[in-house]
Symmetry: C2
Subunit: 329 residues, 2 copies
């Protein structure tokens, strides 16, 4: 009706005069696409401790036989399909966390840093940007705790200007990890390729810090309410953490699994990055049995953001159940 | 060592002079807690359509026998415990979406509106704030599509100033729903309490729009790439949508289930808000069997944010598997 009425009204007027109005409006474009994801942070309380999960990004790459070292490529592909991923392409997720204990602002792990941001065209190395979006000033960080000395956990210690990303923070590192990676003898015996590369990256990062770190031991409260727990295998000094406040606690698993859809569902699988595969698998079973028994929340560095989940036991492994997003904290 | 050295160094100096430095630093407080959740929006592409999920919030309330009308309270409590919720307290989630089709900016459902924001102290009625955080101008919205005439879907049509929240938008409503809720005879026969209240709310909302709406039928492309699908039972004209672009599609289920942890896991359960419980249960089975068979993503208004998931069939019902958060879109 509207169109008919409009045509009728226009019919009596001179064509030249009404042309700008009479011509059909060009199909109006909607507002331009935003093309930009929401800021990648999420907050929750553990007692009076405020945890902010801050994603460093996610990265996709072709699945190869080396990704899981003790399973057939075909079976790994099937595992990916079972979690609705393409069978020939893996996507990995990365998320450090920040804990405000009320007296200390603590960062746990730091992401892959600005080099990775450039190399991956922004897929990784988002930690600094998302920290800013979360309103967290790197200069206000009191403590950085490193879980283990792999690139995606330590490289964010150095900023885009090659200066310290957290200039006022004490940097705490697992004593076992520190001893191993800073040992020249170990470095000289490192296998070519991955291990050699990790030694080189660790030397670059920690030399930029003038090797000014505080090594920490296991089973210690290394920051208020944050206790270090040995979960070795993935690396020689790989460490997880319990954040506890009041009657609440969460287990910060670090890399006890990589993507839970692959390695929690198939806990016997060893990843390419597991330094001691048998030990990594044994540690995983122990930790996940504990999470199930204690109905304890787990925060996973390589879980899809925001990475907070419950764990259930299945016939063949474990199933992560993401904790529901709380819109109000 | 550091402490000993410091004490040693200080020992030789005059106490008065060094006092300001020698005194132990007061325990320095960390940066104040942020106390504020991340903006509640999330983006993903369906072909060339950009979808922004925008949370309206979440609300907790004591579980009562009326919440599920055909199950024992004890069994519902067990279902809540099974998804790691307290057995006596339900939390409901609410999330409208915005679809930028490239030629139209379309809002699907609008949340509980500013009255709910005031009544719930900000737990609900967050849609307008989160839209702003997502950079979406309500004035730029071309079309608002309503799935059904329940308070938490329609009340956000009206802004805090009691004016139209989307002043330039065509408001599209299911024809069946429109006929029912605007029928004075139906209103006069409405049962006291809930149904009567819904009639009153719908009259208030749509009278504020001068009843200027465009009723739509089912199985029609009512906006570019957005097709209406009858999924009745929850209400007489309850509608879902398929968003399709290129080879991608997603099923926007509206209220085919409320919280999937309760109603997808227990698909035979009828909710307090199901107008025709038997029909709602039948529709749910049909839709979820289709989602499983087609391995189709579902976007759920009452799923925990961001509400995008795959669905798997279990022995007793359906399990939703949240799609992984993509940090880069």
């Amino acid at each position: 009706m509207t169109q008919l009425t409009r045509r009728h009204l226009l019919a009596g007027a001179g064509a030249a005069v009404v042309a700008p109005f009479a011509a059909p409006m060009p199909a109006q474009a909607a507002a331009p696409l935003a093309g930009k994801q929401a800021p990648g942070f999420y907050r929750y309380m553990v007692g009076s401790h405020e945890v902010t999960v801050v994603t460093d990004g996610a990265r996709s790459f072709p699945l190869t036989a080396s990704y899981v070292t003790n399973a057939k490529l075909e079976d790994v592909g099937k595992a990916l399909e079972a979690i609705h991923m393409p069978k020939d392409r893996m996507t990995q997720h990365y998320a450090p966390i920040v804990v405000n204990t009320g007296s200390k602002l603590v960062v746990i792990d730091t992401g892959s840093g600005p080099n990775a941001y450039a190399q991956t065209k922004g897929e990784l190395g988002q930690f600094a940007t998302n920290l800013a979006a979360a309103g967290i000033d790197p200069k206000a960080v009191d403590t950085v705790i490193i879980s283990h000395f792999h690139n995606d956990h330590v490289s964010g210690l150095i900023g885009a200007d090659k200066k310290l990303a957290f200039p006022n923070a004490e940097v705490m590192v697992p004593a076992t990890e520190w001893k191993f990676w800073m040992d020249d003898g170990e470095m000289s015996r490192a296998s070519k390729g991955r291990m050699e590369g990790l030694f080189r990256i660790n030397r670059t990062v920690f030399d930029a810090l003038n090797r000014k770190v505080t090594p920490y031991d296991w089973n210690k409260e290394i920051a208020p309410g944050i206790t270090s727990v040995a979960t070795v295998g993935h690396s020689i000094g790989h460490t997880s953490f319990v954040i506890a406040s009041g009657s609440s606690k969460v287990f910060v698993q670090s890399d006890v699994t990589n993507h839970p859809g692959v390695f929690a569902r198939n806990p016997g699988w060893a990843g390419a990055f597991d330094q001691d595969p048998a030990q990594a698998v044994a540690t995983r079973a122990k930790v996940y049995d504990m999470l199930v028994a204690e109905k304890m929340l787990v925060q996973g560095f390589h879980y899809p953001f925001p990475g907070l989940a419950y764990v259930e036991k299945t016939g063949s492994g474990y199933l992560e159940i993401p904790a529901p997003w709380n819109p109000t904290i």
